[in-house]
């Protein structure tokens, strides 16, 4: 969880045993556990990366993958 998502979740990273097969199902799993996080993940401009590559919302995931959720980015 990056940026404000880390604050909403209360954690930066964790391991999920027996993960679901898609990113969408993972979002649903996280939303069931923590509705506020689920709402934040569905927020405008939130992107997801699998193994450090941006992917679509319905991308497949597999055990061992590193999933990141990224709010709108801002450098400078």
């Amino acid at each position: 969880m990056l940026g404000r998502l880390r604050d909403v979740a209360g954690w930066r990273e964790r391991t999920i045993d027996s993960p679901p097969a898609t990113l969408a199902a993972l979002r649903e799993l996280l939303a069931r556990e923590d509705p506020a996080l689920g709402e934040a993940l569905a927020g405008k401009g939130v992107q997801a990366a699998v193994n450090k590559t941006l992917v679509r919302a319905d991308a497949p995931i597999a055990p061992g993958d590193e999933i990141a959720f990224l709010p709108p980015m801002s450098g400078g």
Binding site: R4, D7, A49, K52, A68, P71, M73, S74, G75
Partner: protein, 149 residues
């Protein structure tokens, strides 16, 4: 052509001096140093904290640098970006472009800053007496970047 993402503070003047050294074939160098402000939109800021995603942030910025090189006839580029806690007055970002003619150097630095503001994988949180708040790009930042599309 260099991209550095680091937690250590840096001195923009020193970076510019080192970047400028021995450039007998460059007609000009443009540099930009972005600083952390002590007041934003009327609120006092005591610390700016930038979150990065190591292993993701660096390649994304390298991609912007490669695009700048493709778009503008520059001889060299340097991008240094800090993350972690940053105090007001400290530098957050430094961009330098060297080119045979000035226009390319100005444009490459301008392009890179517009891209960094809206697309670099960092997340900014300001803390001060009024509490904490996450900062996202302003509408004007998104407008600025459309100048290059």
């Amino acid at each position: 052509m260099t991209v550095r993402v680091q937690t250590e503070p840096f001195d923009g003047g020193a970076l510019l001096s080192a970047f400028s050294e021995g450039r007998t074939h460059s007609g000009g160098i443009v540099s930009f140093t972005g600083l952390a402000r002590s007041v934003t939109d009327g609120s006092a800021v005591s610390t700016l904290e930038l979150d990065a995603y190591p292993g993701f942030t660096e390649p994304a910025i390298a991609g912007m640098e490669a695009e700048a090189r493709q778009r503008f006839p520059v001889q060299d580029l340097l991008i240094v970006h800090r993350y972690g806690p940053i105090a007001p007055g400290e530098a957050i970002v430094f961009v330098a472009a060297a080119a045979e003619h000035r226009r390319a150097a100005f444009e490459a630095a301008d392009f890179l800053m517009d891209y960094l503001k809206t697309r670099a994988p960092f997340w900014k949180k300001e803390s001060g007496p009024d509490g904490e708040r996450w900062i996202e790009p302003r509408p004007s930042d998104y407008e600025d970047v459309t100048r290059w599309s």
